[in-house]
């Protein structure tokens, strides 16, 4: 819309300038012709008067009749002379002819005030600007009004599309239009969005079903293995292999749990909002990890960080970030966790920065394959942050991987 208005204005301006210029020259020529015509006719009258022997007065500077001795050329020119009646220098058009009347040579000079071209130009430009402004204003309001009416269904639908969320079940409130194209567009949007939503729902349902359906066969495998090691005589090597199968079953189990969790967050199944004391939660976690011989986590906190969110998700958020730091802290250096008024920072040592930090929060993205993980931990962290409008940032600074969660905005409870 703005673009059209701009183009409209520019074209209008260009046309005005061009037409002003041509009008200026045309008017000037017309006026000049008119002046010349009147000069010739006055001259003819003076000559007639002289022929009829009527007395002819010289009226300077308009008519001058002089007796001369020799003839000259007929001259038509512009001249600037003093006009006593106006008391200023004025531009005149001057026709000077020599006529032989009754044997006497006369020089007849006729002058007429020329309308100054500057004045014409100014007059033209002023009137043009006036016309232009008025017509632009009129057209603009007329057009805008019409356009607003015409385009309103389009913009309303556009607004709706901006609000469109694949995971929400809210129907789009699309407006119909009597413009065929808009009406068609609306139909297509409706079709497309419902198809996209259906596909997404199906996919989500499928993911959920698959991870759900996988639990039972896994349970059967697990149970059978548990009996095999108790009932049959196996050798140490077979036991090692069976233990390794158990580890893989665990991995699948955790993978399933995390996929289900992601789906649940997507489905908005966590609606409960409680006041969660992050500081306390972290202190408890650090204690638990100490039992696992992980005693290199240092907690810096001045104030209690209190956030409004689902307590289960809060625990997962903390757990995943801490687990991530522990997992990648291969040299067992100090992991520091800093709590501030409304943010939380984890930093752990790392030799090299990440190759693809932008893909860090993607599902199944792993920077190194040696570390056994489901590849979903940080994706879940991001999902949780998105759910509550928290900001999560990753930085690599002086050989430290730093994750920062900013709870500002929706989540932080007032002190």
């Amino acid at each position: 819309m703005q673009k059209t208005s701009k183009a409209f204005l520019l074209t209008g301006l260009l046309l005005t300038i061009l037409s002003s210029i041509s009008l200026y020259f045309y008017t000037k020529k017309l006026l000049q012709d008119q002046v010349e015509e009147s000069l010739y006719s006055t001259e003819a009258r003076v000559v007639d008067a002289l022929r009829d022997d009527q007395p002819v007065f010289s009226v300077s500077p308009v008519i001058e009749v002089r007796k001369v001795d020799k003839t000259g050329k007929k001259i038509l020119k512009d001249t600037i002379i003093y006009d006593p009646s106006q008391d200023e220098m004025e531009e005149f058009r001057e026709l000077s002819t020599y006529e032989n009347i009754g044997g006497q040579l006369y020089q007849i000079t006729i002058r007429d005030l020329v309308v100054e071209s500057g004045d014409i130009l100014v007059a033209i430009i002023i009137s043009y600007i006036l016309i232009f402004v008025l017509s632009v204003l009129f057209l603009f309001f007329f057009n805008t009004n019409r356009n607003i009416k015409l385009w309103s269904p389009f913009f309303k639908n556009l607004e709706q599309m901006k609000k469109f969320s694949i995971s929400s079940n809210e129907e789009l409130q699309l407006v119909d239009s009597d413009v065929l194209e808009f009406s068609e567009l609306k139909e297509e949007i409706q079709l497309l969005t419902s198809k996209v939503r259906n596909d997404y729902q199906n996919l989500k349902q499928f993911t959920e079903d698959v991870s759900h359906e996988m639990q039972t066969p896994l349970a059967i495998i697990q149970a059978k293995i548990d009996n095999i090691i108790n009932e049959h005589h196996i050798n140490d090597k077979q036991f090692e292999q069976i233990s390794s199968i158990q580890k893989d079953i665990q991995r699948l189990k955790h993978l399933n749990q995390r996929i289900t969790l992601l789906t649940k967050i997507d489905n908005n199944q966590f609606v409960k909002v409680e006041t969660v004391n992050i500081t306390k939660l972290l202190a408890d976690k650090v204690e638990t990890f100490k039992e696992l011989q992980i005693d290199y986590i240092i907690l810096h906190s001045k104030t209690d960080l209190v956030v409004s969110m689902d307590s289960y998700l809060a625990e997962i958020l903390i757990n995943n970030l801490l687990t991530n730091a522990i997992r990648h802290n291969t040299l067992k250096k100090i992991i520091s966790v800093t709590l501030m008024e409304n943010s939380l920072m984890f930093s752990n040592y790392g030799k090299t920065p990440l190759l693809h930090p932008e893909r860090l929060f993607q599902r199944f993205y792993r920077e190194v394959n040696s570390v056994k993980s489901t590849g979903l931990g940080l994706a879940i962290v991001k999902k949780i942050c998105d759910l509550y409008g928290f900001k999560i940032r990753y930085n690599f600074q002086d050989s430290y991987h730093i994750f920062e969660v900013d709870f500002k905005g929706n989540g932080v409870a007032d002190e």
Binding site: E213, I220, K224, D226, N227, T323
Partner: protein, 224 residues
Amino acid sequence: MKYLIAEDEIDLQQSIVTYLERDGNLCEVASNFEEASEKAYLYDYDVIILDINLVSGSGLDILRSLKKEHKDVGVIIISANNSLTDKLEGLDLGADDYITKPFHLAELNARINAILRRGKYGGNDLIEFNEIKIDTRSRTVFIDGNAIVLTKKEYDLLVFFVSNKGRVLSKEMIAEHLWGDNSDLLNNFDFIYVHINNLRKKLTAEGAKYIKTAYGSGYKFIGD
């Protein structure tokens, strides 16, 4: 003890039976909703192992009617659904515990024992194994009448061992029992040694040498 295993996956059901019968327990099975409802209604069990998603019905409905009848029975729910709401609903309805598939049979057994020990359902809050006595109420352990001091993890470990006496326990099972989901954090289970060795030392000092190594990397709690 008498158990009812209501599980429609026959393979899983039979594996559970095999594992639990090793201790001389009596196990009955139900393979669908109707059978499970009927048996739960007609007979008395110490513990019912109840799958939520039974063919033709929900285990939660059986749980509801059990509680309506005021049946004095322990219920442990097994479910493929690891959802907190399902878990809470099950526990709210009066289930004693909730375990998510897949699980270790040793874990299931330990939890069944824990339910029995609460004393409500014909069990006893005292565990005895030869000269070892564990008072689960005060969480204290006596060997030949002498109290021995165990850390929280060592205590949990000992109870887990005694609950699954005579069975081989791998480090994975032990780690998962003690640390749950956090156990997948550790790429090797060396830290398990620390706890097991400490417990073993404390028991051995009192002459209770029951923790044996099995297949090189597993453990077995067994009397000679």
